[in-house]
């Protein structure tokens, strides 16, 4: 029986050809509809392998992966699977195929054989959703990295997907581009209920997810709400990952005896807690 969750990874192991050891071993994961899941892990942890299993770019060596109830090993459903689970990659320059923005967005639809009028409408709507309408007739190479990533997202949206899988989609962007791309995807998640799997090295991006999983040595080693994950400062450091700066400052103060609560993530939270300790009378403001 096909499961009802958006994405299901069932006891999956994966070994690359010619590799002596598996990249993933016995991974189980369920992503529910509308969830924003962040995946953390250092390079070589297996997180990108996991992402590529989620839209049938790779097939599991053992176990099964289901996308919207479809087994990714079912070759007849490949196009359905890929249009349901769209993927954004790290390098903006590697995913643009056309010489005009609008045509790039059209690429997936043309392959699906969508009628022309509907195609035009879907492209317009997709570009509008990512705020790229003014660039529809422009050449992609004139765009910034963040704008290119938003065009890539429009190309996925035109396929009317239920999931977006982003494999370090902001790693090569500047802070502004990073914010634009993340907020675009967050909006799609909130307003359209699109399920998001967001792989990143940036802790400040993972902080805003519904749930975080940490991958290390080919397996899931931690999972929970961002607050639960990041309060494990020493464990995260062992895994060669960052924690938000305020979390690490709070942790070091706590170790010196200052009774700050666990789970501080942001500057605002930190300011509030420090004020509560230092001047209790004014901490209500």
């Amino acid at each position: 029986m096909a499961p009802t969750e958006r994405l299901v990874v069932q006891d999956v192991s994966f070994t690359y050809e010619e590799s002596p050891s598996p990249a993933l071993t016995h991974v189980d994961l369920k992503v529910r509809p509308g969830e924003f899941l962040a995946i953390l892990g250092h390079n070589g942890s297996g997180k990108s392998t996991l992402a590529k299993l989620l839209n049938a770019l790779y097939l599991p060596t053992e176990g099964r992966v289901w996308v919207c109830g479809m087994d990714t090993a079912d070759e007849d459903r490949l196009w359905d699977i890929r249009s349901q689970a769209g993927m954004i990659f790290q390098n903006p320059d590697n995913q643009i195929v056309a010489t005009v923005v609008r045509e790039d967005v059209a690429f997936g639809l043309e392959n699906l054989g969508v009628p022309h009028d509907e195609m035009v409408e879907r492209i317009d709507r997709a570009l509008e959703t990512v705020n790229m309408t003014p660039f529809a007739e422009k050449a992609p190479h004139m765009l910034s990295g963040g704008q290119k990533q938003r065009v890539a997202i429009a190309g996925i949206l035109a396929m009317q997907p239920s999931c977006i899988i982003a494999d370090e989609a902001t790693a090569m962007l500047d802070p502004q581009g990073r914010r634009d791309v993340l907020s675009t995807v967050q909006r799609l998640n909130r307003e359209k209920g699109i399920t998001v799997v967001w792989i990143t090295h940036f802790m400040e991006e993972a902080v805003q997810a519904d749930r975080v999983i940490v991958v290390s040595d080919g397996g899931v080693v931690l999972q929970g709400k961002p607050r639960e994950i990041f309060s494990q400062v020493d464990r995260m450091r062992e895994l060669h990952l960052d924690v938000p700066r305020m979390t690490s400052l709070a942790d070091s103060l706590r170790k010196e005896g200052m009774p700050l609560p666990d789970g501080i993530l942001t500057v605002d939270e930190m300011a509030k807690e420090v004020t509560r300790l230092l001047c209790p009378s004014s901490s209500n403001t």
Partner: protein, 285 residues
Amino acid sequence: MPLELKHVTYTYSAGSAFQVTALDDISLTIGDGEFIALVGHTGCGKSTLVQHLNGLLKPTSGQVLLNGEDINGEKVNRRALRQKVGLVFQYPEYQLFEETVAKDIAFGPKNQGLPADEVDRRVRRAMEHVHLNYEKLAERSPFELSGGQMRRVAIAGVLAMEPQILVLDEPTAGLDPRGRDRILGMVRELHAEGVTVVMVSHSMEDVASLATRMVVLSHGRLVAEGEPRAVFRQHEIMEEAGLDIPDAAKLCGALIARGISLPDDLYTQDELREHLLRLWKEARA
């Protein structure tokens, strides 16, 4: 050996319809042993400026002087210049091309016509600087290495020229936290050994922990410079330049706004921790 920019202006496609002034009257002196962070939003002119530092680009007007001598003068030996000022581009690993790590790193010194034993000494020393094990990696293909290791090979290739001034354009872009910390640690060590460093960065946190001086560019103009402490205090200028300030500086501002008495120019986690512990002890006493 100070490197001095005097009223440097650079215009791309001068005289055409696409004319863009990328640098507008920049004057700046880079003194011996400094660690300068060059910051600004994408398109502000950082990368253009960096390419002026070793004569890859020639100012449309103005001069670049090394030790008082115009580096674009007719008598200047370009090869000697590029040996003194080493430039590490963005994503330098894309420029690796040799069969082995050692050959790739040896390329520069060999072209300089140095004797084989000197080339070998330099390759070993450069690998040591970037924390790559010579015995294990020298004969490997650079393309079999991890992304972070490949980047360190590329940087070693520049270090093998033994430059006195090392210019790095976003050396940590796209790396995971462990890769980033390795590169930054290595740059810190080189600076401690007396190499002058100019580093382009988008991460204000990295800048805060490393730089002795910051130079802020916005729309091709130099809008602020000075010690990080002095620059991070100028919130409006940073905001106008499209830049963030470190979380520690934000927390410092938020606490002062809540009536806590702190110096208004704290910007590193360590100094903030010291001050907060002191206040906490005073509050308990």
